[in-house]
Symmetry: C2
Subunit: 425 residues, 2 copies
């Protein structure tokens, strides 16, 4: 008998019908002889609708009230799931973040979990209930509700799994595991049986939407094994754990991200402290710079480029407008039609020639590289957004990741990929 945490996202609980299916799934886990604790997100688009209401009365809503408002989404889905389980003859009890003992710091909208009090969940299990826990939320020292920000429900699931010492944390979604790349972009993508925390972290933070980085970080820190699998089939998914693949490939996967933009400042005087002035102004406005490229100086002036999330653009403009006159230039370009393609693999550390092979492959396919950045287990290149699909496919083939079978879902257009990448939580 195993103790399992099973997390279901918003799509899986978007309607009463789907909630009943989730209940059936939980019951089958229990019937297989396991104990199970469910963690749920809000139904479908609920969070967006609540945000819409908040913005209709206050364009700059204070975070304490906003957290309280958003938390109601999971309160609804958790009780409905408990009701659905009861209707199918299985006693269930819902738990808000507070009741589940998810203690956080007081940073509303993106609180960090500081402690998990497991007593009530364990007690409910003891009494034969299926506990259903609200994802995405906790409670701070003041007794106020906090939310965990993007990916919060995955993080809740991992935290609960750790808190009650569960064997595994199953994260159910509309994809059936972690692929070498997005199968909708490259139909020869291969599902991974297992992947290491580090590789998963790089993939997540490079644009793979399967799991949120934060949940993976938490799982790595506390040694929680995650099983990413489909809510709509029984197929085995992908395990995320300390030891990844048995046979280590050089590249584990390829992620793409079209949610960033590139800003280029022209003719910056090539003097000491100028770049620092620009970047500290951007940092002051909390612009998350990802890559920074400074071109070789020509006649005492240089071009500085950086990439950052497109959502940071308004703040970036504020910072730049302030700093431009000070540094004696007045022009910058914004290019939103870029894509970042990232090759990820722990095996990369011991394999030279990855960059060379990447540049060669893209060059042979006439795909222009606009910027490059690397980490010990990741190589990212920025290209034009319209080349996303072709770049992913040729690199996937070049690094021998192709599967023998072809993924059957219709391929997405560049616009669809971009739209998909830009969507919410």
């Amino acid at each position: 008998m195993s103790l399992i945490v099973a997390k279901f996202g918003g799509t899986s609980v978007a309607s009463p019908e789907r909630i009943k299916n989730v209940a059936k799934r939980l019951i089958s886990i229990k019937q297989a002889g396991n104990e199970v604790v469910a963690v749920v997100s809000a139904m479908g688009k609920t969070t967006d609708e609540l945000m819409g209401l908040a913005n209709a009365v206050n364009t700059n809503p204070p975070s304490r009230e906003l957290d309280r408002l958003l938390s109601t989404g999971e309160h609804v889905s958790m009780t409905l799931l408990a009701l659905a389980l009861e209707a199918q003859g299985y006693p269930a009890k819902s738990f808000s973040g507070r009741q589940a003992g998810i203690e956080t710091n007081g940073t509303h909208n993106k609180a960090k979990i500081v402690k998990v009090h497991n007593e009530r969940i364990l007690e409910a299990l003891e009494e034969g209930y299926i506990p259903v826990v609200a994802g995405f939320q906790g409670i701070d020292a003041n007794g106020d509700i906090t939310t965990l920000g993007r990916g919060g429900s995955d993080t809740t699931a991992v935290a609960v799994a750790w808190g009650i010492n569960a064997e595994i944390c199953e994260i159910y979604s509309d994809v059936d595991g972690v692929y070498t790349t997005d199968p909708r972009v490259a139909p020869r993508a291969r599902k991974l049986e297992a992947i290491s925390y580090d590789d998963m972290l790089e993939l997540s933070s490079s644009g793979s939407g399967v799991l949120q980085s934060r949940a993976v970080e938490f799982a790595k820190k506390w040694g929680v094994v995650i099983h990413s699998r489909s809510a709509f089939s029984d197929a085995q998914g992908t395990l995320i754990k300390e030891e990844g693949q048995m046979e280590q490939a050089v590249i584990t996967g390829i992620a793409h991200d079209t949610s960033e933009m590139k800003v280029t400042i022209r003719h910056v005087p090539d003097a000491v402290g100028v770049a620092a002035l620009v970047f500290s102004a951007l940092a002051d406005k909390a612009v998350n710079m990802d890559m920074i490229i400074q071109n070789t100086s020509l006649d005492g002036a240089t071009d500085i480029s950086f990439t950052c999330p497109a959502s940071d653009l308004p703040r970036a403009r504020e910072a730049l407008d302030e700093v431009m006159s000070k540094i004696g230039t007045d022009k910058y370009d914004v290019d939103e039609d870029i894509a970042k393609i990232s090759l990820v693999g722990t095996g990369m550390k011991s394999s030279p020639g990855i960059s060379a092979k990447t540049f060669k492959t893209l060059g042979e396919n006439n795909i222009n590289i606009l910027a490059i950045s690397t980490s010990p287990i990741r190589l990212s290149v920025v290209i034009e957004a319209s080349e996303t699909q072709r770049a992913v496919q040729v690199l996937h083939t070049a690094f021998e990741l192709d599967s023998d079978s072809v993924f059957e879902e219709t391929q997405l257009s560049a616009e669809e990929i971009a739209a998909k990448m830009k969507k919410g939580r």
Copy 2:
């Protein structure tokens, strides 16, 4: 400077636009030099929608989960109101039932308030916030959310007013006070400046929808003065307090109620213990019998009638079907097309001849009386539902309640009155 509790119902907070108006109203109370605490119901039809979702996954939802689900409605409206106040420059803080210290017993779906812990509300006032409290909910000794049942938000408002020792509890709704009768039924209805708790209780429990009996009972018990007034105008409403009208009229008001039905059991043997058998069977099924009429015995058999809420009909049928064969009869009739007209007035105690005048008035107008019941300050008659409007009007005139001015809203049909009376919380 006064300390005021202001309660707004679901209609007043049904949209972001209306929530902004409520915020303006609260601000004007504050600008007049008062301290104010708001209490809100859920937005518009939210509670019904949540019930619909619950029923879609479980036709017999357990009460703990249902309470948690329904409570989210007020969590949404309270945070939106707090956000709207903030947007208009007034610091505000929302409080769930738990945070507002509304402690109840554990009777889910219709919990009773056992204590009000006022610390957090008083602290928020001290710090200059407008506290916004969720109506309709509290928390039991287990830390689980409870709801207070029908009229719960009015009760919350009165409890909070008592808990923080407010000068007055203002209850805002879409009617501008308590009338001698429903102005939509009798256009010469007159708005009362004041009414005693006892008269208000009898009116509320006899079908007047302005205030819920429970809130009035609570107010009477703890001496909280209620001001029932319009959310859409500044006009003075009606005060509900210990001393009612200065000049005591014999009849304070006339209520009507079409939500009951009449059951008649034919040819019941007129033997000792037979009536007891019937009524204890009904009581076992929790059928709320209002009036009971036993006709004079003829040839050893009698007819027994009783009235009860139409919603109790399924349970009443179960009870009767069980008991019918035992008592040697097999026939009962159900008449749902009845109305109860109640004349209410503390002054009735010292004025003989009220019944005589009532019967005479109805008789002269050819309105047939099906049943009668009395209390020291109330006289109720059951008539055919189709005669509701005419009966109210002729009695209103006979007891000299008519106003000089005529209420301008279109009169309702008997069907509309019935529909109105049957609607929810």
